[in-house]
């Protein structure tokens, strides 16, 4: 019976470490199911946090992706060219700040084979001539055939036809049609100030009604032909912007920035044009982080409570293990493994149920219409929200759930390993 302080074994260090770890892991797993109810309750709290994170992240991702698509297809187009002065005062839609070098830029765009449309946006009041009811809307003067190439309204016409070249034809949203109680073929009066600040009004006939998936467009805009707008606003042949459609936004953006070398002209992306949405999108990223913090709190409270209770109940056992020669760090590992096990169960159930919930709502959707009503909620999506399943998020929250459980268990695990052996045995 020899005595060594290093241990009797002659087996290689690695093999012994693996063996001990295997034993500690098995012991931890068995202990995990020693208090099945407690383990499941703690794991459920983690799972709940993960389900919530996946669900909210799924909705926000769906809203984000669809909003960008709907911005590009109905609101900002792929790119827009405006004068620097116009961009600076964009919220007032200043008609005087027309696009300089318009013809030269158009020639350049034609040469590059890029689809574009001349646009003039203007503040106006739309009036139901029968009732006198009126609303402030933004009118957009645009050539119909070019509008078809730059925007995607033709797939969302609910009544009548697309905007046509007939003088005084107007293309409105079903939202505006309901507000004014007007249908296709009915007359609407538009009042606006001309480029020279003279009050002007004209009557238009509704050619078609659209219902786009971008509520910001439906609640704000209507379309008339470029010629009609020029006449109403006394613009001559000038326009305030060129809207561009391209499937390769970044590439075209870089190219046009290089080609259009006028100092007073800007090439703009949706991020520049829909500033409200860019801010919202950034906030959204913060909200996912807040939810992960919420998972952290749930895991922290649950795991610390469970582990401290386990230590309290197993004091004598810890004392026995230490007397029989288990090192402090080995006791620490046992509790860390146990906690990781809880984190694993919670995360696994969390991602399984979270993905299932997301799967259901991806197909069914949640109608926030009754809650949101006419409220402007920033997202360029209809009030029926869907969710999106994202593999990246699933992996991140799964790993996060386990890692956070391990991290939180460090305090109770170290506490367990530093218990006085004699005091523990006396319990």
């Amino acid at each position: 019976m020899g005595f060594t302080l290093e241990g009797k074994s002659k087996s290689p260090q690695v093999e012994h470490k693996e063996k001990i770890m295997k034993f500690l892991f098995l012991l931890a797993m068995k202990n995990l199911f020693r208090y099945t109810k407690r383990t499941l309750i703690t794991a459920s709290a983690i799972a709940f946090g993960i389900i919530l994170t996946l669900f909210v992240d799924g909705i926000l991702r769906w809203a984000d992706d669809n909003s960008i698509q709907n911005l590009l297809n109905f609101e900002t187009a792929s790119l827009r060219i405006e004068s620097q002065e116009y961009f600076n005062e964009a919220e007032y839609l200043p008609l005087k700040k027309t696009l300089p070098h318009g013809e030269a830029i158009k020639t350049l765009l034609q040469k590059e084979g890029v689809d574009y449309a001349e646009e003039t946006r203007f503040l106006s009041t739309v009036v139901n001539p029968e009732t006198g009811e009126s609303y402030n809307f933004v009118g957009i003067g645009i050539e119909p055939s070019k509008m078809k190439k730059v925007y995607r309204f033709q797939e969302h016409i609910v009544s009548g036809a697309f905007l046509n070249k007939k003088p005084n034809s107007i293309f409105i949203s079903s939202y505006l049609s309901k507000l004014l109680n007007r249908k296709v073929g009915d007359e609407i009066v538009i009042e606006a100030n001309t480029v020279n600040d003279m009050h002007n009004a004209d009557s238009f006939v509704i050619s078609g009604i659209f219902d786009s998936p971008n509520p910001a467009v439906d609640k704000k805009n209507y379309y008339i032909s470029f010629e009609s707008a020029n006449r109403l606003l006394d613009m001559g042949n000038k326009f305030t912007a060129l809207s561009i459609h391209t499937p390769h936004i970044s590439r075209t953006f870089k190219k046009l920035k290089k080609l259009i070398s006028f100092d007073d002209v800007l090439v703009l992306r949706w991020q520049d044009l829909a500033k409200d949405y860019s801010t919202l999108s950034e906030t959204k990223k913060g909200s996912t982080k807040s939810l992960l913090f919420f998972v952290f709190i749930l895991a922290a409270v649950g795991i610390i409570n469970t582990m401290l209770m386990a230590i309290f109940e197993r004091k004598q056992e810890i004392g026995m293990l230490r007397s029989l020669g288990m090192q402090k760090k080995e006791i620490t590992y046992t509790f860390i493994f146990e906690s990781a096990g809880i984190g694993f169960i919670g995360s696994l159930f969390g991602v399984i149920f979270g993905t299932a919930v997301n799967g259901i709502f991806a197909a069914v959707g949640i109608d926030y219409g009754p809650i949101l009503g006419d409220m402007d909620y920033g997202y360029r999506v209809p009030a029926v929200f869907h969710t999106q399943i994202n593999l990246n998020t699933i992996i991140v929250v799964f790993v996060f759930g386990i890692l956070i459980s391990v991290l939180i268990s460090l305090y109770p695990a170290l506490k367990a390993s530093s218990l006085n052996i004699v005091d523990s045995l006396r319990e």
Binding site: F3, L5, G7, S9, G319, S323, M326
Partner: protein, 238 residues
């Protein structure tokens, strides 16, 4: 005979608030190879404290403890743990088995800590469980066994790593007289077969009857030592 443990002027004082309690008071004691010794005395006489000090799970307030020739005060926690792991076995009054492990796993785990290869572990554990009469209970968990059977598992667990010394704190306190007798006979047999030292703390007369050397403690001091083989009474510490 080689000395396994030597205590030199060892005292242990516990402080509870302003009250100081001397649990062990200036004890000098040597434990030799092959001993089957009992520390006897009433409650509070310092039996368990002395056993804890010998087992290197407690440190003295004064005096020196030697394990073979090593002074344990010079060892850090890791070295002390290694010393216990390799050389000292413990048997507790309340058995202290791990409830989630089977009898086999409970006996095997000190070997797992000791890094023995699996085939060897299996053979050793099975042989030892057979030796303590639990061949048919290998895969039973503690709650499926009687107190006597659990204490047999605890004995096998203490013996599996072939320690120099096994320290047993009131090993029969939770057993009926029949089981206590059987357990003591088993330990006596193992002592004579393996020469493993057994030191008990007890106030059970049966344990005292079985022991070869009886150390009487009173108020933390050794009152007398009875060497049963020669029936001589020493008064080393009087």
């Amino acid at each position: 005979m080689a000395k396994i443990i030597k205590l030199e002027n060892v005292s242990k004082v516990y402080e509870t608030g302003k009250i100081k309690l001397k649990a062990v008071d200036n004890v000098n004691l040597e434990i030799d190879e092959g001993e089957f010794t009992a520390l006897a005395g009433p409650s509070g006489s310092g039996k368990t404290t002395l056993l804890n000090l010998m087992g290197c799970i407690d440190t003295p307030s004064e005096g020196k403890i030697f394990y073979r020739d090593i002074e344990i005060e010079s060892l850090n926690d890791k070295e002390l743990t290694n010393l216990r792991r390799d050389n000292i076995g413990f048997i507790f009054q309340t058995f202290n088995l791990i409830p989630v492990l089977t009898a086999f796993e409970n006996v095997a785990f000190p070997l797992d800590i000791l890094k023995h290869p699996s085939a060897e572990v299996k053979e050793k554990v099975e042989n030892l469980l057979e030796k303590v009469g639990l061949k048919d209970y290998m895969h039973h968990k503690p709650n499926e066994m009687s107190g006597g059977q659990q204490q047999r598992v605890a004995i096998a667990r203490a013996l599996i790593k072939e320690p120099d010394i096994i320290l047993a704190d009131e090993p029969t306190a939770n057993l009926d007289s029949h089981n206590a007798q059987e357990i003591l006979e088993l330990m006596q047999k193992l002592n004579s077969e393996t020469k493993t030292v057994f030191v008990f703390s007890t106030h059970d007369t049966l344990v005292m009857d079985f022991s070869k050397r009886l150390i009487h403690l009173h108020d933390g001091k050794i009152q007398d030592i009875t060497n049963k083989t020669s029936q001589n009474t020493n008064y080393e510490d009087k």
